[in-house]
Symmetry: C2
Subunit: 145 residues, 2 copies
């Protein structure tokens, strides 16, 4: 095997560490404010953005990169909390539509007040806008294909 270059290995290590570090810090903020995890937020935000606050589970999966079975059960819990509701998908009884409820929208907004503040502290304070743009560009290359 051709060894990966040292600079790539270093970048990879930092990618892992940066993600864990920042996620850890943000999750800690959310928890101490009494909110559920980022996963819940991600689902709520995607739904909110979807047409009429609705998406199919597949679409959510694709958007947030969850496993199908994990999303299925996450939706169970969120439905139990009244944050989303499952409704029939017109014209295809295999599928379903997940719709965000008013309570879901409200929670998303309250979480954002903590989450956004955390992003300010843990990212905005560390990178200039220009650097953030460079970071986006580089990371996009890793995501593609």
């Amino acid at each position: 095997m051709q060894e990966p270059s040292p600079s790539v290995i270093k970048a990879w290590g930092r990618l892992i560490r940066a993600e864990r570090t920042v996620v850890g810090r943000i999750e800690a903020e959310l928890k101490s404010a009494g909110f559920p995890s980022l996963h819940w937020y991600d689902v709520l935000l995607e739904l909110k953005r979807g047409p009429e606050g609705r998406l199919t589970p597949r679409e959510i999966e694709e958007a947030v990169l969850f496993e199908q079975y994990n999303l299925s059960r996450l939706l169970d819990r969120m439905e139990g909390e009244g944050l989303v509701r499952r409704i029939p998908y017109p014209g295809d009884r295999r599928r379903q539509l997940v719709e965000i409820t008013d309570a879901g929208r409200a929670l998303q907004e309250r979480m954002w007040s903590v989450y956004g503040a955390a992003l300010n502290r843990f990212i905005c304070a560390k990178l200039t806008d220009k650097e953030a743009g460079q970071l986006s560009t580089l990371l996009l290359k890793l995501i593609l294909e």
Copy 2:
């Protein structure tokens, strides 16, 4: 709250997504080659780098950013597989030293042959060395403090 800048929000989204994407791809490779997860690899590599292949659990924790209780149980499993062994820490009976075994070293090397190849495919192929360096520099800013 002052809204985080759009470029920061975008960079953050991509950081999450890039990490999930690449980790997912690499884990899939490892699994299909019959190997355990990256977490196991991380511990083995840290130990291998430590003096005489030994570190305390605290040191491993710090290096790989695991929770104490998760590491404790991961070490149980790894010890059960004969990859590491726990030995007394001289002069402090609260602590312990975790030592990588020959089997552990061998596994780390076999895993690297798959892991390194995956890094080539999923990162080296996507970034020039210069870009990898830029990425490292930017990510470091997020990790610090």
